[in-house]
Amino acid sequence: MDKTFTRTFTVVGNNFTDAGKVSTEIKMILKQLGINSTIIRRVAIASYESEMNVVMYANKADISLIVSPTEIQIVVEDTGPGIPDIELAMKEGFSTATTEMREMGFGAGMGLPNIKRNADIFNIESIMGKGTKLNITVSLN
């Protein structure tokens, strides 16, 4: 693939029925682009954890998939409450999840560490009362 492919999706908070749809679509696109399956799995998992975080905690988010010849980027920009203590949120096991979230098999404080684990570069910025931005990069080399 020579040029950059970009696509942006919208995820709505608290919509548990559609949670996972965007990540499923991202995986399908990456398959069609002929990306290596190990890379696809890492991107899909990071994207899915991000999507679940938006559904669980934010009002709304844009999730962008950017595929260049050298890397895949997932950018998640939400409008939401923001994360008061990012260092704490990055710790495995720390969670502010509700019972509904836990009943879906999530909310055990694994999301952000899981995203980081699957990324080559991971950036997170959050502004209280405004929202959180994740930048997930997986290298293709």
Binding site: T17, T24, R41, G105, A108, G111, P113
Partner: protein, 125 residues
């Protein structure tokens, strides 16, 4: 390594969908109700045994390259889950055994853990 139909037979499973995929080779076993654990610690090519019956189980399996889902303790997926699984070419089967029993049976038959690398690391340092 086991064939999915061997797993199905060993666990006395009924098939909800994906009968055409029962000849799939399964490399590892994985059991959890916590989908984040599956996403974090499973490897591609595993069967997932779970008591969690909702659409996020289907999404997790699809995205983490799980080859098949086994619902334990007689749990039954709903129509929407089955429709999603058919689209995603994911076989869904169900066993009357509890999670503990089902894991024991497959482990005894030689199906290794998807998390083996982690437990070995913890035990051997």
């Amino acid at each position: 390594m086991m064939k999915l139909n061997e797993i199905s037979e060993a666990l006395k499973c009924e098939t909800f969908c994906g009968a055409e995929y029962l000849d799939r080779e399964i490399k590892f076993g994985c059991a959890s109700d916590l989908m984040s654990d599956v996403l974090a610690f499973s490897r591609a090519g595993a069967v997932l045994l779970t008591g969690l019956v909702n659409i996020q189980t289907i999404n997790t399996a699809f995205l983490a390259e799980i080859e098949a889902l086994v619902f334990v303790r007689g749990k039954i997926p709903d129509e929407r889950m089955i429709e999603m699984a058919i689209i995603k070419k994911l076989p869904l089967i169900g066993t009357p055994y509890s999670m503990y029993e089902a894991c024991g049976i497959l482990f005894n038959q030689g199906l290794g853990s998807t998390m083996e690398c982690i437990s070995e690391k913890v035990i051997n340092g």
